[in-house]
Subunit: 71 residues, 2 copies
Amino acid sequence: MKHLAAYLLLGLAGNTSPSAENIKEVLSSVGIEADTERLEKLISELEGKDIQQVRKNICGRVEHHSNSHDS
Amino acid sequence: MKHLAAYLLLGLAGNTSPSAENIKEVLSSVGIEADTERLEKLISELEGKDIQQVRKNICGRVEHHSNSHDS
């Protein structure tokens, strides 16, 4: 979830394809250390998707409380 | 929306009541200049709300495309 929030923020900033490094920098600015493995997985999943789809991904995780996977 | 994404990220980082300054710093890390007026309004709206409610707020904005207010 935290990686996804950082991805969303970068997208809103106009970065249409944030890199792992970009996301690490954003997370680092709020004192979170990125999980490289999950981050790479997230980036490969979101590659080519637009920001609206990223927001929907966040919403899907809210609706499905049973999904405890924290990316 | 961008302020809200930054707020969400700070919440995920464990900051349960982010200040305007906190949010400005996060936005600045991705090259976005905060809109102080909207930011103050957002903070007063979200004060005391938990992170789950902030996520729902993001989702509400996705579901209601007619809402073009970009906070």
